[in-house]
């Protein structure tokens, strides 16, 4: 029996996923080690505040914008929030995704309904389009944008779009569309350690350092 869609799906779910996972995890470890081995000199100025506590606090508090700034870059702020939240709702609360986690780690959590998942997906994709538009038109964003920025936006959007197509059987062979969806996820995983997608890991370090530097001085962060 010759069923290329089925074969591709099996490859994507099996060896394809394993390869992607190894690159994803190995790459992240490499990049994090690359950072940590550079070290950080001990600060000898007597602390006024609490560097460790404020470092940890800043990991969370920096998720919220400073008052009054949103209006100066509304697409970046609002688009950024909607994309991140939409992406993670679709990724973490779609029943078949939870089933994968349950299979692998034996843990599960309640899933969200179809309306929520599909709205989150659609909103995240719209937000991505707005972010791409802002990169192409806004002078500050335009001046900073490189190929990497468009690549990560597209790589982040493809799993959302292909997932939506596969689930709703919008077009194409359902098995093929599911295989394509999984492959786009794998592309995202492979690119992750070597692109700006790494921020999703290293932001924790950056925010901690920022908070601890400011916190040592008793200054806000």
């Amino acid at each position: 029996m010759n069923n290329p869609a089925f074969d591709l799906l099996m490859w994507a779910r099996g060896p394809g996923f394993d390869i992607a996972l190894v690159i994803f995890l190995g790459g992240i470890i490499l990049r994090v080690v690359e950072i940590i081995i550079l070290g950080r000199k001990k600060d000898m100025a007597p602390a006024k505040g609490s560097p460790v506590a404020q470092g940890i606090k800043t990991i969370f508090s920096r998720s919220f914008p400073r008052p009054g700034l949103v209006k100066f870059a509304p697409i970046t702020y609002v688009g950024g929030y909607i994309f991140h939240m939409g992406f993670f709702v679709a990724f973490l609360f779609f029943a078949p995704h939870i089933a994968i986690f349950e299979d692998a780690f034996g843990i599960s959590w309640p899933n969200a309904g179809r309306v929520i998942i599909e709205s989150a997906t659609a909103l995240a994709v719209l937000a991505l389009i707005a972010l791409i538009y802002s990169r192409m038109t806004d002078p500050v964003r335009k001046a900073l944008t490189t190929f990497d920025d468009y690549l990560v936006l597209i790589l982040s959007g493809l799993p959302l779009i292909t997932g939506y197509v596969a689930v709703n059987k919008l077009f194409g062979d359902p098995q093929m569309m599911l295989a394509v969806h999984i492959l786009t996820v794998e592309a995202l995983m492979v690119a992750f350690p070597f692109t700006k997608l790494m921020h999703a890991v290293t932001f924790v370090m950056a925010r901690y350092y920022n908070g601890s530097i400011q916190g040592r001085k008793g200054a806000e962060s």
């Binding site: 950072i35 550079l38 070290g39 100025a45 700034l69 950024g80 900073l144 944008t145 950056a206 920022n210």
Partner: protein
């Protein structure tokens, strides 16, 4: 490759540590740092986006400190940083950044961009691409004791004047006293009243103090220029003098980067903690207030607002202290928008004030500060940094604004309760 370029790149490489690598790895080029930057906001020119100012340091990091970058470099896919690049970046790193620290507080991934500018200046100056005024100031400070040159005669004259006015003795080089006072050149040259003010306050509070002839200058052009050797030498002078006199502490004066240099960078520059404490004059006054040793009588009735110096508040952690003192001696204290941690810079910090080439940009940047002031329409502006004071005096005049600028220490001294 020229020797100076190699020296600059080496200085830059030395500055790249785990925080820097985590910052560059985390940057998603969102550009939100631009919205926090006084120079971008005043001009809307995208080249002033803070992360853009760090691009050469990012390239060095990427090419030499990441595996993929090293491979890319070997394959010739990325270009090494050249002397022309550094030259082109000089106005971005020095003229359009006061190291005010606002970008550091808004970056969503938490990048301390200001600290990276400080680091990048190490490479720039080592490569010979720093403003001539800062290099000149460093030479004068090193050779003559102050960025303004030889200030001993002026200091002695001002001290004499303060003694005559207050009737309180001020002794030089007196060992074993509580504090050694250091001053910013700007105070000696332009705002010497602070001497008499401190004299009166300390006498009432029972504090003994002295000024060292060996190290009375608090400013440190080394941290503006970005030269650790200069910065270390200047910090070491103060440390040696203070330890020789055996004082309990050194009082950092109303000067932003002086506080940053001695209190926060200093121990790291000389490689050890001090044998004395460093306290900012406003921290000390607030402590005296809390201990009941600073008593005032009456209040200023003018409409007063407060300008937070970046290096003392946002980058220094002194935010509530001046406000408690303001409330003690004023009855009509109004805060501007963004007051406190997110206050707008006067535009003169980080060496920008000394940099002639940056004058137009500095005046353009004042727009943000001006908006803050115009909205509350104060009679006078109080601050706790002599250089902010100096910059504000100049730009207010330039813009035909008639507000007076006051130093907080002098303001407090004015209302000192003589009977207490």
């Amino acid at each position: 490759m020229s020797a100076t370029l190699e020296r600059g790149l080496n200085a830059l490489r030395e500055q790249i540590d785990a925080p820097v690598a985590s910052f560059f790895t985390s940057c998603v080029s969102c550009g939100l740092c631009a919205e926090a930057c006084i120079f971008y906001r005043a001009t809307e020119d995208p080249q002033y986006t803070p992360i853009k100012k760090l691009d050469l340091m990012r390239r060095v990091w990427s090419r030499e400190f990441t595996l993929l970058g090293r491979i890319g470099g070997m394959l010739g896919l990325t270009k090494p940083v050249t002397d022309d690049d550094l030259k082109a970046w000089e106005p971005l790193v020095y003229d359009s950044c006061t190291m005010c620290g606002r970008c550091t507080l808004v970056c969503p991934v938490g990048n301390d961009l200001t600290m990276m500018i400080r680091k990048m200046r190490e490479g720039m100056s080592a490569a010979g691409h720093a403003p001539v005024e800062l290099i000149g100031a460093a030479e004068r400070h090193n050779d003559l004791g102050s960025p303004m040159g030889e200030l001993h005669p002026a200091l002695h004259a001002q001290v004499k004047h303060a003694i005559a006015e207050t009737g309180i003795e001020i002794e030089f080089d007196k060992p074993g006293v509580d504090y050694m006072v250091i001053l910013s050149a700007q105070e000696i040259a332009e705002f010497p009243d602070v001497l008499g003010a401190m004299s009166k306050i300390f006498k009432k509070a029972g504090i003994t103090w002295t000024i060292s002839n060996d190290a009375f200058e608090a400013t440190n052009v080394g941290i503006q220029l970005g030269n650790r050797d200069v910065a270390r030498t200047l910090v070491q002078r103060v440390v040696d003098a203070a330890e020789k006199l055996g004082v309990k502490g050194v009082i950092s004066p109303e000067c932003g980067h002086a506080y940053q240099a001695l209190r926060w960078e200093g121990p790291n520059l000389i490689g050890r903690p001090y044998n004395f404490e460093v306290i900012h004059i406003i921290e000390l006054l607030d402590k005296l207030r809390a201990d009941g040793k600073l008593k005032t009588k009456g209040k200023n009735g003018q409409k007063l607002t407060f300008h937070d110096p970046c290096q003392i508040n946002r980058r220094g952690g002194i935010n509530d202290e001046p406000r408690r003192l303001m409330n003690m001696v004023t009855e009509n204290f109004v805060e501007t928008d963004d007051a406190g941690t997110m206050n707008w810079c006067c535009g003169g910090g980080g060496g920008v004030g000394a940099n002639e080439r940056a004058e137009d940009l500095r005046n353009a940047a004042f727009k943000l500060k001006k908006n803050q002031i115009d909205k509350v329409q104060p009679d006078a502006i109080v601050t706790m940094c002599a250089y902010c004071h100096h910059t504000l005096d100049n730009v207010l005049e330039e813009f035909n604004m008639d507000q007076e600028v006051l130093g907080l220490t002098e303001l407090v001294a004015e209302y000192l309760d003589d009977d207490a």
